[in-house]
Symmetry: C2
Subunit: 492 residues, 2 copies
């Protein structure tokens, strides 16, 4: 993998100056097109061996391009806000919006590679992490992002020489740290692990470019050309990345049996039973939230359901049980402008709870495979790929200790009609019923099919769907609380 990057490539100064002059003008021009069209972000990873100039090329690119539209993220140790969330959160929050270029110095590759080099994780753990990274990049590419991954390569000898040279100059000596020499002693291992990482993650949508970094002029010019080439090709393609390969949509069922039809919506609780159970369940949830062991976890609750199924009331029975300091209720409405300039899942990542806390989503990322699918707001390739992306997303939450509780509140069409009419008659609840609700109701069957497909494709062992019979509000509320308590108890 590194063979072509150890040939001793170099460029003489005159050629360099001439080429750079041309390159700068073209780079700036391409950047201005990216900025003006604002159709996709450019994500550039500057990775490679220590001493290869990962930081230098960022400076060079910032000089060649318009720095007003470049965001540089030099990620060292995670902050305490980063650490109390899933590992990918720190990258999600720093993704560039459409039109901008985000340069990452230290990326989602740093930890997997260095953890493996120092033996903190085994080979299979690294494989798993890299598979996750590959799917993350696939998602970014499917969302339109241009991903340019640069690997600056130095041979062991060249690295040693570089460090020695930096150390010999008092102005640059501080740049070589004890850790750098420690890493250098593990060079062979580093090379082996990186080679494997690059091999596993060089995909059609986000290939690695390995660049020999011994000669700074050769390195800079190659970096600039690689980026220019990638931007130019991407601009030619227009809005959508060419790599989107649509998964086939779920096949239609051949009989009328489905998971929703199987529900027994006649289930109910008497007032007496409800009044007995509710306070006990709320006390149980309250105690769980204050359990010391919960401080290493968090809870994401997802409320979905038919219109008028009683999501709001169920949410309130949960929040009543919790200290207001410990939860956020996140109502999902139309995305804001800043959210629309980001990948679909970005607006959910930004609301993830810190450790020890609850985030309660009133509607959620499932909008894509429900309303957006049925109403045609999302193109078919977008909602079909969403199943996989959502499974990945929730898996990464679960892996970092977050309990994901997904609830579908189901009512019958007859019960819905009754509630719509009741809402229209109560002045106090009138704001809760809109023309959209009536329109959605006409598409009952299409929604029901979308719900069944959603359950089939996203109910996983670590984050299963819980279908809640909600014709009786008391039954539904008790089941919601029970489900949440059991889910949390399972991890403590």
């Amino acid at each position: 993998m590194f063979e072509s990057a150890e040939l001793g490539h170099c460029v003489d100064k005159r050629d360099y100056d001439r080429e750079v002059a041309k390159l700068r003008a073209r780079l700036l021009d391409a950047q201005m097109h990216v900025v003006e069209r604002a159709e996709f972000p450019v994500i550039l990873l500057s990775s490679g061996a220590d001493g290869a100039g990962k930081g230098d090329i960022v400076n060079i690119l910032n000089e060649w391009m318009d720095p007003r539209h470049v965001q540089v993220h030099a990620l060292g140790e995670p902050t305490d806000e980063d650490r109390s969330r899933p590992p990918m959160w720190r990258f999600w929050r720093r993704l560039p919006p459409k039109g901008k270029t985000g340069v990452f110095l230290g990326s989602w590759y740093t930890a997997p590679i260095m953890d493996r080099v120092y033996g903190r994780v085994g080979g299979s753990e690294m494989t798993r992490t890299l598979a996750e990274v590959t799917r993350f990049e696939r998602m970014l590419a499917d969302e339109g992002a241009l991903i340019v991954k640069l690997w600056l390569h130095l041979s062991k000898k060249a690295q040693k020489k570089r460090f020695a040279k930096l150390e010999s100059n008092p102005a640059t000596a501080w740049r070589v740290t004890a850790q750098d020499w420690k890493d250098h002693r593990r060079y062979d291992r580093f090379r082996q692990v990186s080679e494997r990482a690059l091999r596993d993650t060089s995909t059609a949508e986000a290939p690695w470019t390995v660049i020999e970094a011994t000669d700074a002029r050769y390195r800079n010019l190659t970096v600039g050309r690689t980026l220019l080439d990638a931007m130019t090709k991407r601009l030619e393609r227009g809005k959508r990345s060419a790599t989107v390969r649509a998964a086939p949509p779920p096949a239609a069922p051949i009989d009328a049996r489905d998971v929703i039809e199987e529900l027994d919506l006649s289930r109910k609780l008497t007032d007496a039973k409800y009044d007995g159970k509710l306070p006990k369940l709320q006390a149980r949830l309250h105690a769980l939230a204050y359990d010391k062991r919960f401080r290493d976890h968090a809870c994401v609750m997802v409320f979905e359901g038919n219109d008028a199924a009683g999501k709001g009331g169920a949410v309130r029975r949960v929040t009543q049980a919790l200290d207001a300091r410990l939860y956020d209720v996140v109502p999902i409405a139309a995305p804001t402008e800043e959210e629309r300039a980001q990948p679909y899942l970005w607006r959910f990542w930004r609301h993830l709870p810190r450790l020890g806390r609850f985030a309660i989503f009133d509607r959620s990322w499932y909008g894509r495979v429900l309303v957006e699918r049925v109403e045609g707001f999302a193109a078919e390739p977008d909602w079909t790929r969403a199943y996989r992306e959502i499974v990945d997303f929730e898996e990464s939450l679960v892996r970092s200790g977050i309990v994901v509780v997904k609830l579908w509140l189901a009512i019958s069409p007859e019960e819905q009609l009754k509630r719509f009419h009741a809402r229209e008659k109560t002045p106090f609840k009138r704001f809760k019923i809109t023309p959209d609700d009536w329109r959605n109701r006409k598409k009952w069957d299409a929604y029901q099919r979308a719900v069944c497909d959603m359950v089939d494709r996203t109910s996983t062992e670590p984050s299963p769907w819980h279908l809640v019979e909600a014709n009786d509000k008391k039954w539904a509320r008790v089941k919601v609380l029970e489900t949440a308590c059991e889910a949390i108890e399972r991890v403590l």
Copy 2:
């Protein structure tokens, strides 16, 4: 101040239940109006004595209102991201957008009061901090925010009793900490300091409401009614808070002399001088950025100037001198939807640099008193109050160690015309000239007057304006770099 809150107010259970039923319906109704109109945020501070139930009332309000539109911020110790920015940053980033209610448990009053109680600051320092807080709240109110400040009062005896009661129950004993008892021993001092703080900060636009908290039912009902009353009155007033009192606009000058006219725009540098000075200044700036002492500081550079004055080129001469990891260039364009739902200065606060870093603003918060004033995008009361708000803003930056370097790049109308024509002829620069530029040019005199007023009103000793003669780009760039170096050297 606390007399009325020590009368032993209480409400019996039957009255409470009856009143609460009415109150809840009205509170929810008022909240829905606030949400739907989305014209102003509601900012509620829950403050007061330990044990008075500051957290309990937040839970109650969240139960009475729709928790989907309430954001609760229980602020304990600042995170490390908070700590590397000015103290008010953690509050700015959590301000609720228009239509939402933000509840602060632990607010901008906590530190000033507790620091004084424990003698960490003197009385005059507290006065200064509270004056700053008052101006902050005044700004929020002028931006339309409804501010409800609740002070839950307990007498010393009642506090002791409350702690003892909580401790006697194993389920609540953990809520009383050693710190609580420590604070209790300082009750008299706490009362004295709080009384003073409340007195100093009870303003027309953000008055304190002191509530006796011995009886929980009396407390809850009073809190609910206070909030309801405030929301109702605010809703009646419509979009704008009634408290905006316009400052008079600056008077027109009586002769043609002004700070811009006094500039000698013929100043220039030869190529040789420029080539000699530039690299030295860039090296000097580079060294300053890496100076260990700079880690306790940060630098905010503000580039303003006539159209085509060469801001972009000057910015690039600065960024060339810096490691791309150490700076962000923040181009100021039209505010996004999320920014428009916040006070004017919010979109600048969010880009403040961490300690040790640079933020370079290409245009800035001065837009309000320049383009927004001249083009009439901001109403007169809004741009006239902006002078004061900007001075406060910059003062709070300087106080936390940030070096503020404000540069006005001035060119003559003739030079501007030459550059406009040149830009139109260079394909590469054509995107830099828009119909807006030509339109602005016609208002040259109005802009010039706005610039002079801006300099007069916002050039302060801790953050002065630097007027840069920019007809000669070389002169301007050298002066920009010199100014930045000198400003940083002054604080190190």
